[in-house]
């Protein structure tokens, strides 16, 4: 197991290096210089040139990349030349905000997605199965940002049950914290509830058709116990999908944070894109990549724990 983890970490490092280079190249390839953003429309050519020189933007591409990579390896994300703030600090400040929303959304998606999927799989063709299929189609079709706006309209503006946006940290109290993350998390989770429900249902139904399940039932094993065993065997594809979903949620959080005015990483990333804040943009996307890679690694490890065949194959 340790050798497996070490091997995956090494291969992940290669992935991160590749992503880092691609990211660096893409940020520089786009039109528009941060100098124009920072100095505005009225800036003179001389002012623009001074800015680029002061921030090393006039150096050759590979020299800029080399400097950034060596800084990153030392844990130094640099200082934003747009805001003047330390990128690492900005990420550390914004990460808990995004994490709280994504983790809560992930928990909602996993709990509801798997529960609905199991319930639908146990009564194929039943009322719950049909209703869950319909709701899954709706969940897959409704854009998260639109759902967010609808929630703001009805829950916040009309009912006055929750604030329309913003963020209260856990230190402000659990109730205040939950009030601010509930709507963004639900908006984010709905699509993944549908995805995980469909996957759980399909995988569990497939497993329940297995010979060993029929044998277990014939030998008089109780139905809940049979389902529990079948569920363990049906879970690996669901876990893989959940891990992927966790990574994708950070991408969707981009839009959700904007809709709910949440000062998280995604909001910082959008600002970084529009302001051509290269270092902040690279730092955040790099972090997202690390999260995505770690989520997949975690999924692999959990699957190996659940499925002895994978351990044997490894």
């Amino acid at each position: 197991m340790l050798r497996l983890v070490a091997g995956r970490i090494v291969s992940s490092f290669g992935t991160l290096l590749f992503v880092g280079f691609a990211l660096f190249a893409l940020t520089r390839a786009g039109p528009g210089s941060p100098a124009r953003i920072v100095l505005g429309a009225d800036a003179t050519a001389e002012q623009l040139a001074q800015f680029e020189q002061a921030n090393g933007l006039d150096r050759p591409f590979l020299a800029q990349y080399g400097a950034w990579l060596s800084d990153i390896l030392r844990g130094d994300f640099g200082k934003s030349f747009v805001t003047g703030r330390d990128v690492g600090t900005e990420i550390v400040n914004a990460l808990p905000v995004t994490l709280s929303i994504v983790l809560f959304a992930f928990a909602i998606a996993v709990v509801f997605g798997i529960s609905i999927g199991v319930a639908a799989a146990l009564r194929p063709g039943g009322v719950f199965d049909r209703v869950s299929r319909l709701l899954s189609v709706v969940g897959l079709s409704v854009p998260a940002f639109w759902l967010g706006i609808v929630l703001i309209r009805f829950i916040a503006v009309d009912m006055r049950w929750l604030p329309p946006g913003g963020y209260a940290p856990l230190s402000a109290g659990l109730s205040a914290h939950l009030q601010t993350i509930l709507m963004p998390s639900v908006s984010l989770a709905v699509y993944y509830i549908a995805v995980l429900a469909r996957m759980t249902q399909a995988s569990l139904q497939d497993t329940l058709r297995g010979d060993y399940v029929r044998t277990a039932r014939a030998m008089g094993l109780s139905s809940p116990r049979v389902v529990a065993y079948a569920l363990i065997n049906a879970l690996p594809p669901v876990i893989n999908l959940a891990a992927l979903s966790f990574g994708y949620m950070f991408g969707w959080a981009l839009i959700i944070e904007q809709v709910f005015n949440v000062p998280g990483l995604s909001r910082a990333l959008l600002n970084a894109i529009s302001q051509r804040d290269f270092l902040l943009l690279q730092g955040i996307v790099f972090l997202f990549t690390v999260i995505f890679v770690l989520a997949n690694l975690a999924a692999d490890l959990v699957n190996r724990v659940l499925d002895p065949r994978q351990r044997v194959a490894a």
Partner: protein
């Protein structure tokens, strides 16, 4: 006696219900905006700096104007008034020397009394090229600043330039002598505590969320501000910004969505107002050096084919004052005669087109901005497509991000571009920057006319309104004759606020003015 649930299913149901109920209180935990006399306002954008000498965003100027003040103020109605000076300056006969008497009851947020030394230091710092102040080019005609006595300062210009006073409010502030060296530019950019004389003292900047200020208890205008704390929130999403207002989370919002503005301002508990800006123009940068826009008659045909009134009324719901020349229709320097030359008249448009090198029409690429600023130019561009098709001109829309578009325009790489250009609301700023040589947007039109340049120079010599009106009128007449740049109109500044807010007035210069607001 309370019956507690005894089976697992009931227990779990009750527990889930209880948890949900706990998360749905009848009143929000958030302090209402007027609790503790906090004024909360909302910007549609994310500011980069508080420092007025490096500020580029007119919405965000509220930050600098809360902390910093200047000798004179260009106020919400577009009137020049004394601020840190006792009165407007005395101006020498040659219009090159300005003398200011300073108020003697002004202290900085750090408790230090403001004197002429601070004024000189602030201007000297701004004008020193080594300090790379973004707004320095606006003030380079200032040759020197001299301290005459602790409360008297003299500003000498290298040549007459009466307009510089109008730029002080937006692009400059007075700070304590030695403060830049002591604290550094980043301090002024993101946490200028103790640095200004304004009604608000910097408190905290939460990136991507809000910036807050405390009331200045020693503010020289006694009794102001009427709030204890000012919170400036950043909410880029239109719908969310409105939702914050409707749920009483904030007091005033800027840039309400144009489509919703008229409906929202009549909602219970909400007040709204708009007024035309004197310096926010919706422009069509026509590149005079690229065909077919190199043809004067073709440019005039375009101008006369555009029904600006319909754009103002129907496309922008009354938030655009139609105008065909570079002057706001409600400005005192507006020349209505000049405007007639380029106003909507389809027959004249066809006549001009027939006289041009392109009598059967032409095809033009028009560059527009992806993200709306004040108005969504895409709406007008689509309307233009239909309008200009009537005279045989085909329009191709090219959408770019702001940073890309502005560089394209500045380099003259566009054929035609449409953008809202915000300026302080003074008569020469847009003209000087777009149709005169050597300016940052000179290549947007490629136009250079010695006659216009001479009139501009003459206007710098004048300070009397009547004479200025004549000069500005002649400039508009030349621009109407040569049509080097297209104008669709002047945008309105608009705000929505809760009914508990008093003494708030929409600023003709767009930037929210909150020093006199009561909550």
């Amino acid at each position: 006696m309370v019956n507690l649930p005894t089976d697992r299913r009931q227990f779990l149901t009750a527990g889930a219900g209880g948890a949900l109920a706990a998360m749905l209180p009848t009143s929000l935990l958030y302090a209402q905006p007027n609790a503790g006399k906090t004024l909360t306002i909302v910007l549609p954008s994310n500011p980069i700096t508080i420092d007025p000498i490096n500020q580029l965003n007119h919405d965000a100027m509220v930050l600098g104007q809360t902390v910093f003040e200047n000798l004179v103020e260009f106020d919400v109605d577009g009137v020049l008034k004394p601020q840190l000076a006792k009165d407007l300056p005395t101006i020498s006969a040659d219009k090159k020397t300005y003398t200011f008497e300073l108020r003697d009851d002004v202290t900085f947020h750090n408790g230090k009394k403001m004197t002429a030394e601070d004024v000189k230091y602030s201007f000297d710092y701004l004008l020193d090229a080594n300090n790379k102040a973004l707004r320095r080019p606006l003030f380079t005609k200032i040759a020197k600043v001299t301290v005459l006595d602790p409360l008297k300062v003299q500003v000498d210009l290298s040549e007459p330039y009466g307009q510089w006073l109008y730029f002080l409010t937006k692009y400059m502030g007075i700070f304590p002598a030695g403060s830049r060296k002591e604290h550094g530019d980043d301090y002024f950019k993101s946490k200028p505590a103790g640095m200004g004389t304004g009604f608000g003292m910097f408190e905290e900047w939460k990136p991507n969320d809000s910036i807050s200020f405390k009331k200045n208890p020693n503010y020289w205008r006694k009794g102001l501000p009427a709030w204890d704390r000012l919170v400036v929130k950043m909410i880029p999403e239109d719908a969310t910004r409105v939702a914050y207002l409707l749920t009483n989370q904030v007091d005033i919002i800027s840039a309400p969505p144009a489509r919703e503005f008229n409906r929202l301002k009549t909602m219970p508990g909400i007040t709204g107002a708009s007024r035309p800006t004197l310096g926010g123009a919706l422009l069509m940068f026509t590149n005079n050096l690229k065909p077919p826009l190199d043809d004067l008659n073709f440019r005039k045909a375009l101008s006369c084919a555009i029904d600006r009134k319909t754009i103002g009324d129907k496309v922008y719901y009354g938030l655009l004052d139609p105008a065909a020349v570079l002057a706001p229709p409600r400005g005192w320097w507006f020349n209505a005669e000049a405007e007639k030359e380029l106003g909507f008249d389809l027959d004249r448009a066809k006549e001009f087109l027939a006289k041009s090198k392109y009598p059967t029409g032409a095809e033009i690429d028009i560059s527009i901005q992806a993200e709306p600023y004040l108005l969504d130019t895409k709406d007008a561009a689509i309307f233009l497509q239909a309008q200009l098709a009537k005279i045989g001109v085909k329009i191709n829309l090219k959408v770019y991000e702001f940073s890309v578009l502005i560089q394209q325009i500045a380099r003259g790489e566009h054929q035609m571009a449409m953008q809202v250009f915000m300026s302080p609301g003074e008569a020469t700023y847009i003209i000087a920057n777009t149709v005169m040589p050597g300016q940052f947007l000179s290549k947007s039109t490629g136009y250079d006319n010695p006659e216009l340049n001479a009139l501009m120079a003459a206007s710098f010599l004048e300070t009397e309104e009547a004479k200025l009106k004549d000069l500005y009128g002649k400039m508009q007449a030349i621009l109407a004759r040569d049509a080097p740049i297209g104008v669709l109109g002047f945008v309105h500044a608009s705000n929505l606020w809760r009914q508990g807010v008093q003494d708030f007035k929409v600023n003709q210069a767009l930037t929210m003015s909150v020093g006199e607001v009561k909550v």
